[in-house]
């Protein structure tokens, strides 16, 4: 468990550091082109371009570093917004029950019926390309898992003594949800969030690969992979390095998520210690 958290945490810490320090540590502007230096192979020691250059002579290392920043911004925003929306609706749904619960859960079922990537493609096709639109497209379905889990837990929490006590003391619904329900939903939300982060990175890369993500001038790992695909037999470095970054990042975040779930999910904890 600790190994998972350490490894996953290290990857996430590296991603955050690289993203934050991107302007300081990149050797070149990620969009700076040198047509005469196009498709230069990686030269790890003596060369001008550590990981080589792409088809229009842009430094791949600089683009990967900036790509980390984009992945981080998109993934964390998607997780945060999805979490707020999903946990909020889930808590309201579970707490009030009745018609409110019915309406929210029907909406959940409708949205859940769409394959996530297809829904995102439809939104982007309709609204056009852009960072904000991409985030909306990714949030569109990612709030659902938060909502379902939060509702289930709220149904259980609202019958607990501390909630009854707060209600009998005259606390408002808002106060009960805000002060007594939501803090108890946080642990589950964190676990869901780590997995949602990995899936958001993959979805962003997939959409950028399809040319539907952020505009082409913004370097992302997915768009780098798409550009590299056209040169895969002759200039392998264009696709390999962004592909490796996506792989390592998703693996790292998933490891962290696994580790956190082991710690925070009591049922799993009991199962692992032989208690059922």
């Amino acid at each position: 468990m600790k190994v998972k958290i350490c490894l996953g945490g290290a990857v996430v810490a590296l991603l955050i550091s690289v993203g934050v320090l991107a302007p300081v540590i990149t050797p070149y502007d990620p969009n700076q082109q040198d047509l005469l230096a196009a498709l230069q192979a990686p030269d790890y020691f003596a060369g001008k371009f550590f990981l080589g250059t792409d088809h229009v002579g842009r430094d791949i290392l600089s683009r990967i570093i900036y790509g980390a920043r984009i992945s981080l911004v998109i993934a964390s925003t998607v997780v945060l917004v999805s979490g707020i929306v999903g946990v909020g609706f889930g808590a309201i749904s579970g707490y009030f029950g009745g018609r409110t619960d019915f309406a929210i859960q029907k909406a959940v079922e409708v949205v859940w019926a769409f394959p996530p990537l297809l829904l995102a493609i439809a939104i982007l096709a309709f609204m056009g390309q852009g960072l904000g639109i991409l985030i909306i497209a990714l949030v569109a379905q990612r709030w659902i898992p938060y909502c379902r889990v939060a509702r289930g837990q709220t149904l259980s929490l609202r019958a607990r003594d501390f909630v009854t006590a707060a209600r009998s003391l005259g606390a408002s619904h808002g106060r009960i949800i805000g002060r007594h329900i939501l803090p108890n939903l946080l642990q589950a939300a964190i676990v869901i969030g780590t997995f949602a982060m990995a899936s958001a990175i993959i979805s962003e890369a997939s959409l950028s690969f399809l040319g539907l993500g952020v505009p082409p001038e913004i370097p992302t790992w997915g768009s780098m992979l798409a550009d590299g695909r056209e040169h895969i037999s002759t200039s392998w470095w264009l696709a390999l390095f962004p592909g490796l970054c996506i792989f390592m990042t998703v693996l790292g975040i998933n490891l962290l998520g696994d580790g956190l779930r082991d710690i925070l999910d009591p049922r799993l904890k009991r199962a692992s210690s032989g208690v059922t």
């Binding site: 082109q33 047509l35 005469l36 498709l39 088809h55 505009p215 040169h231 037999s233 002759t234």
Partner: protein, 486 residues
């Protein structure tokens, strides 16, 4: 079928463009004109060997007066269902191009013609709205001739889909929209050559890596448009070779003057000065293109070898023009490009973005799907886009279609002087006068700059060694011209 199954020869062609509709009048793209020409047959075609138009279903033609053209059809030309092709089928085909709302994309080919009449079974009279000396450019290789009887019996959709009987060398066996088209040799067709493949499969393969790998694996026998960075893979192959052709497709950056800032001529000229075309041809096209100094280049009709370059790569001049246009602090624009429709299209426009940015034209690049891009271009909704216009042997029709007032909304350019010259070139039946007028019109166009004319590509085809095939500069894939070696 004449050939036995074991001896059946099969040729698969990997193309980059879309197979959009089974309606032979429903899309205007070079490859589709060629493929429908092979199924339905054309009245006439351009022969690059002879340097002029030659008859296909028509035996010959004559110009009666400036508005009247007479076409004499070959006798005994049969549709694939066995009925004879006659003048009424030509009249019917004109009707489908000019009146059928689903054929609107091909109306450019028929818009110069007022009426088409059957004089007798083998004679067709065409009357043009106005004298049009270049009328053959609007007809040859473009008009597919389909059966009136089949249309009357089944209606357009059913006839196109399930009874696509033409008089060309191949019958349509299967058409899967957006994927593939299968043709089967029409035994006995006079247009077939000894060794023409029995079965032709045309597959949409937009990824160049995919086309090259399929060619080297023997999955396909002809791969269109090999980009420069993949040439070595085929050069090293023992089973395939490169066959180049100098394309007559003109590549340009169009700027729609109906939208700001493209209403200002100086901004358009600034764009033409801002782009380092030599650099792009050298680095991204590896020399596989010829720069254009006007709308057309060497080998195209009315090309003027004495025409001096107007737009050199001059960022300082571009900045100055931009300031004079009222944008001293720069301007933001949106550039649209198709992806994998033309050789290195996305890469080329990516390279243009910082060049434009360096002179103050801050450019946001958009890469929509070709279907979306093409639909929007045709409606005149795209402000600034990278585009090719194929089949420019005689530039008259193409330059009219894209730049003459009211002909198509694609660029929305309008110039009274240019319109007058284009009308005059069409009315000129004296060749020297026509060439001189066309050159004048092209000079006006270059100066007004509704588009920056970039280059024509040297298109490289990958061809399996067991196939003899010389691709045409106009991009028509006439597969009956390919022959299989045993």
């Amino acid at each position: 079928m004449g050939a036995t199954a074991s001896a059946e020869t099969r040729l698969t062609l990997g193309i980059t463009s879309n197979l959009s509709t089974v309606n032979p009048y429903g899309d205007s793209a070079s490859h589709l004109y060629g493929l429908w020409g092979e199924v339905y047959g054309n009245l006439c075609r351009y022969s690059f060997e002879k340097g002029g138009y030659v008859g296909h279903l028509a035996e010959k033609w004559e110009v009666k007066d400036e508005n009247t053209w007479i076409f004499h059809l070959k006798k005994g030309m049969k549709f694939h269902n066995g009925t004879e092709l006659t003048a009424k089928d030509v009249v019917h085909s004109f009707f489908r191009m000019s009146k059928d709302p689903e054929s609107s994309q091909k109306q450019n080919s028929s818009r110069k013609i007022k009426s088409v009449e059957a004089v007798d079974d083998y004679t067709v009279r065409m009357i043009s709205h106005k004298p049009t000396s270049s009328l053959l450019s609007y007809i040859c290789g473009l008009w597919a001739i389909s059966s009136k009887d089949v249309y009357d019996k089944y209606g357009a959709k059913e006839a196109d889909k399930n009874h696509p009987y033409g008089a060309g060398p191949y019958r349509l066996k299967e058409f899967v929209i957006g994927n593939r088209l299968v043709l089967e040799k029409a035994e006995g067709s006079p247009f077939l050559r000894p060794g023409s493949p029995d079965i032709v499969i045309v597959r949409k393969m937009t990824e160049s890596e995919q086309r090259v790998t399929a060619l080297l694996n023997g999955e396909i026998q002809i791969a269109q448009f090999i980009p420069p960075h993949l040439l070595t893979r085929i050069e090293k192959s023992k089973s395939a070779r490169l066959v180049p052709t100098s394309s007559v497709e003109i590549m340009f950056l169009a700027m729609n003057p109906a939208m700001k800032p493209w209403d200002n001529q100086k901004v358009r000229q600034a764009v033409c000065h801002a782009i380092n075309r030599e650099g792009i041809v050298k680095a991204l096209l590896k020399g596989q293109a010829q720069l254009l100094q006007g709308p057309i280049g060497p080998g195209q009709y009315a090309y003027n070898p004495d025409h001096k370059p107007v737009y050199d790569y001059n960022p300082e001049k571009a900045k100055k023009l931009l300031a004079e246009a009222g944008y001293p602090d720069g301007v933001e624009v949106d550039l649209y490009t198709p992806v994998a429709r033309y050789v290195n299209d996305k890469q080329i426009t990516q390279a243009m973005v910082p060049m434009l940015g360096a002179v103050g034209i801050k450019t946001k690049l958009h890469t929509p799907e070709w279907v979306t891009q093409w639909a929007n271009v045709r409606k005149g909704k795209v402000p600034f886009f990278y585009q090719g216009r194929g089949s420019v042997i005689d530039p008259g029709p193409a330059l009219s279609q894209y730049f003459e007032t009211g002909v198509s909304p694609r660029i929305n350019f309008s110039s009274a002087e240019y319109d007058k010259l284009m009308q005059a070139e069409r009315a000129a039946f004296d060749e020297q006068k026509r060439i001189a007028t066309l050159r004048q019109a092209m000079s006006v166009l270059t100066e007004e700059a509704p588009a920056c004319f970039m280059w024509t590509h040297t298109l490289q085809y990958g061809v399996a060694n067991k196939v003899d095939y010389q691709p045409r500069p106009d991009g028509r894939p006439y597969m009956s011209e390919a022959t299989m070696k045993n």
